[in-house]
Symmetry: C2
């Protein structure tokens, strides 16, 4: 194994708490309370369906920043929240300012000593550059859907990263908090590591609480994964 | 200006000294002296013509690692040097282990505080990942020819990086030691910074010793550039 690529939303960063916090801050500034938890959860619920429109060919390639904005407009409308364009333009980049889970920075630093580390994410390049700068994530490379104009779980994303690394899939491992993502990677011959993030979706989370298959590695967090890999 | 992208071979790393050093080390191991200077210079002379074959459509997209290998085989043949495949496979990655100029690491670190920094190089992703790891270059992103399947100075490479950054060209600056590269960037609306590297091609270097146009910035090295930009 030469390289480890990471799912980002949920696996590396705590998108939900970060969004809720940013909605609260914006609400204070605007002078009225925004329903941050509902907006965060529902915005994320629109994520997979929005990408599926691209994956099924219903709309041409559209990057995640633009899908996020369409979903946001729809969501604000459903909630009857009226904001001007300039304010909406400030909310969409909330996804660029996400906080990593506490083990991430130290774990990635240790893993980078022995492996090439990169993202394998549906977020677009500029979004991921901003997340990495904000969260101080020392990626060797940002591999993402936008480079291949396909969204995970399309095979093109996983195999595209392996091709750019010039490595066969068995020398590349996907690390993710989501069993479905790992299933797609394993089906293509990649190694797999599951890291549970049991509060990604909040205190009532029902799915991805545990490994659903015998993944190559299952570790509590990135530091534990680095220890399993001999650090 | 939001982002600075850098030419790599010559601008960031001293490819010539690095290659010569690695040829010398290999020669010691093999027990006979390789003509390191000639091999380094002639290998680099085959660089532009090899990419031009792709740029003119004579051969399909081929990444730089593969072009380098073809050129190397041709060169060894010209010199009557007979090496087995395994040894040739050890020489081609010399390009993955290049040493940065002395100002680079400190300069990039300072520039990264205020700007997104990335490569804008004809080297492929895996080559650039290895160079960055070897030379400890803290890129936010590796933008390279391979992502766009075009070699500089094709416009697709420059505009492709701007598109992925979601920035207009005038908010992105190319930093390079080569006037021709800067001319291509300026023609597309990008900002430009010239850094002379007067020994890139050895002590007898004739070209790119000075700025040939009034580039937006001309600085002695990366640290001086960061100072001109207000650090």
């Amino acid at each position: 194994m030469k390289a480890i690529v990471f799912d980002v939303f949920g696996t590396v960063v705590d998108w939900r708490s970060s969004l809720i916090h940013q909605f609260a801050e914006l609400g204070k500034e605007l002078g009225y309370e925004l329903p941050g938890e509902a907006l965060a959860d529902q915005w994320r619920q629109l994520y997979a369906p929005s990408m599926d429109r691209v994956r099924k060919g219903e709309i041409p390639w559209t990057n995640l920043d633009d899908l996020h904005r369409e979903s946001l407009v729809q969501l604000l409308d459903q909630h009857g929240i009226v904001l001007n364009e300039a304010t909406i333009d400030r909310i969409n980049p909330f996804w660029h300012q996400l906080t990593p889970w506490p083990d991430v920075q130290r774990g990635l630093k240790r893993l980078k000593e022995d492996y090439i580390i990169g993202t394998l994410t549906n977020g677009n390049v500029s979004l991921m550059v901003d997340v990495a700068r904000h969260a101080e994530l020392p990626w060797d490379m940002i591999f993402c859907a936008e480079l291949f104009e396909h969204y995970k779980p399309d095979a093109e994303v996983y195999l595209g990263a392996c091709r750019l690394l010039r490595l066969p899939p068995e020398e590349v491992m996907l690390c993710a908090a989501h069993n479905a993502d790992l299933r797609a990677a394993r089906a293509l011959g990649m190694k797999t590591a599951f890291i549970p993030r049991p509060t990604e979706y909040g205190p009532q989370q029902q799915k991805d609480l545990a490994a659903e298959e015998a993944w190559d590695f299952v570790a509590e967090d990135f530091i534990a994964l680095s220890e399993q890999l001999g650090k």
